[in-house]
């Protein structure tokens, strides 16, 4: 019997939709010209890139296409938003950055670097479900605060932050507001004007587009220093020959995602809820990490007490199920996920976490198989666990 492949790691990356791949194809072999060249193959490329820019601007609710800048990844967009704004504001005496304790490493490591360079960083705490309190943002703002960067939705536990409320505060105090929307794009509606953000990052491969392409929305009037220096591409703000197929693919993918969002999110939410309910019902000593409401529709994060996440992942993989864990052992460090620690989990419970992120190819049958497999594996690992043995003895 061939082992099934059940992909439950859509928050890590997605496949490229066939329509997206078809749209990209001509730009590899036929329309290969440099978008900056004057001859016709270059000009047609330029036109396609500008149409893609307009599509993305429209999908994000930007005022004009010129507010969209293409980057090589979501990580680059995040780096640029923060480093670019603090470098531009440093001359005017700014030195303070506000972010949250549960940001993606693209933000966390950027802030760590800037702290070493002499900037101050405030990491706002989150509650037990991962929410940032907008009142904490306001309290943290100082006269020398340059930028607030808060993610739209968390990659591990799916918490959707009150971005609009935070945007009102940053506007009132005249500080920049960047939002890492890499996990949100394609799963929840985004309107940069309504949210009140000055900058927003997205990444193509999280919504059935290609890898190696991202974008940063920069509201007109916001000044950023370059991260990369070179030619005139992206109006000199992000030099480097345009990744034309990537740009075309990301725009197509976002366009499809926005058009199909209601149906797509309805489907994955139903699968996620089914998995969540069945796991809670059939497996004892489990804990849902993250909120029930205001959560990414495809995200499920559950801790299984007394067992360790990497063992769980390996055994799931042997059954063809691909998921992810916040355990330290899967990241090669000693500490479990900073997100799970920030929401107040003990080390033991954080080590036993499993993230499942659903996508459009998943089925109800796969959810049943997942829960059957989990029940079997968790029982087996618990029978090997000294922690479970202690627990059983203590409760006798």
């Amino acid at each position: 019997m061939q082992k099934p492949v059940i992909y439950l790691d859509h928050a890590a990356t997605t496949y490229v939709k066939p329509e997206v791949f078809e749209a990209m194809k001509p730009y590899f072999v036929e329309e290969y010209g440099n978008a900056s060249s004057l001859y016709s193959v270059g000009r047609s490329n330029r036109k396609a890139v500008e149409e893609a820019r307009a599509t993305i601007a429209r999908c994000l609710g930007a005022n004009e296409p010129g507010e969209i800048y293409f980057t090589g990844s979501g990580t680059e967009a995040d780096n640029w938003a923060i480093k670019g704004s603090v470098l531009a504001a440093r001359k005017k005496g700014g030195k303070h950055i506000i972010t949250s304790a549960i940001e993606h490493p693209a933000i966390m490591e950027t802030c760590k670097f800037l702290k070493k360079e002499g900037f101050d960083v405030t990491y706002l705490p989150v509650d037990s479900e991962g929410f940032v309190d907008p009142a904490d943002v306001e309290k943290a703002i100082r006269p020398d605060t340059i930028i607030v960067s808060i993610m739209y939705a968390n990659n591990e536990i799916g918490t959707i932050q009150p971005i609009k409320a935070i945007g009102e505060i940053t506007k009132k105090h005249g500080v920049l507001f960047h939002c890492d929307a890499v996990q949100a794009a394609g799963s929840i509606p985004i309107d940069v004007k309504d949210l009140g953000v000055d900058m927003l990052s997205i990444s193509g491969h999280k919504f059935y587009g290609p890898k190696g392409i991202g974008a940063l929305y920069i509201r007109k009037g916001v000044r950023l220093e370059n991260l990369i220096h070179g030619g005139h591409q992206e109006r000199g703000k992000r030099p480097g020959t345009e990744n034309v197929p990537g740009i075309i693919g990301m725009a197509k993918a976002l366009e499809l995602a926005v058009a199909d969002m209601e149906q797509y999110t309805g489907k994955i939410r139903q699968l996620r809820d089914k998995a969540m309910n069945l796991i809670m019902e059939r497996i004892p000593h489990v804990k849902l990490n993250g909120p029930v409401e205001n959560r990414l529709p495809g995200n499920l994060n559950i801790s299984f007490r007394f067992i360790e996440g990497e063992s769980l992942l390996l055994m799931l993989d042997m059954k063809g199920i691909k998921a992810s864990s916040g355990s330290a052992c899967s990241s090669g460090s000693l500490d479990p996920s900073h997100v799970l620690m920030a929401i107040g989990l003990s080390h033991e419970i954080a080590h036993g976490s499993l993230r499942m992120s659903f996508g459009d190819h998943n089925t109800e049958g796969e959810v049943d198989y997942l829960v059957d497999s989990l029940e079997e594996i968790v029982t087996r690992l618990r029978s090997m666990s000294p922690l479970y043995e202690d627990f059983i003895k203590a409760n006798k």
Partner: protein, 149 residues
């Protein structure tokens, strides 16, 4: 990432369980590190006639526990004491550098169980135990500074 031997000992771990009325029991590691190993020994006439384990931890932690019990079964106490993490590593065809500390934990678990046996039998010991997560066993072992065996 893991060798075939590691995967074999992870998927089909040898000697999982408890020993009723064990002659020596040792537990090392803690939940903060993400690894806890508990080892049970049955000792007759100075020979380890049975060894079992329970482990909370990653694939490498389970595999090193399993291999460690295999290596000490049938050995004298003296021989079992000579088994280092390096022997466990070699028997498993190596571990990724970040997982070498799991083999140290296996060595410590053997030492802790033997120490318990000695203490119960009023024997002298110079054993210095692993009292928890000092972070020292992360990435490189106490015994093999180069990491992978």
């Amino acid at each position: 990432m893991y060798s075939d031997k590691v995967m074999d000992h992870f998927t089909n771990p040898r000697n999982v369980g408890e020993i009723e009325n064990a002659d020596g029991v040792g537990q090392v590691g803690n939940a903060k590190c993400g690894d806890i190993m508990k080892m049970y020994l049955k000792i007759e006439d100075g020979i380890i006639v049975d060894a079992k384990f329970k482990t909370f931890g990653c694939g490498a932690a389970v595999a090193t526990s399993s291999m460690a019990t295999e290596l000490i079964k049938g050995k004298t106490i003296k021989e079992a004491e000579m088994i280092t993490n390096k022997a466990v590593l070699e028997a498993l065809d190596g571990l990724p550098p970040a997982k070498v500390h799991c083999s140290v934990l296996a060595e410590e678990a053997i030492a802790a169980a033997l120490q318990d046996y000695r203490a119960r039998n009023g024997m002298e010991t110079d054993y210095v135990g692993c009292s928890g997560c000092c972070g020292g066993c992360n990435r490189t072992s106490h015994h093999d500074e180069n990491g992978e065996a």
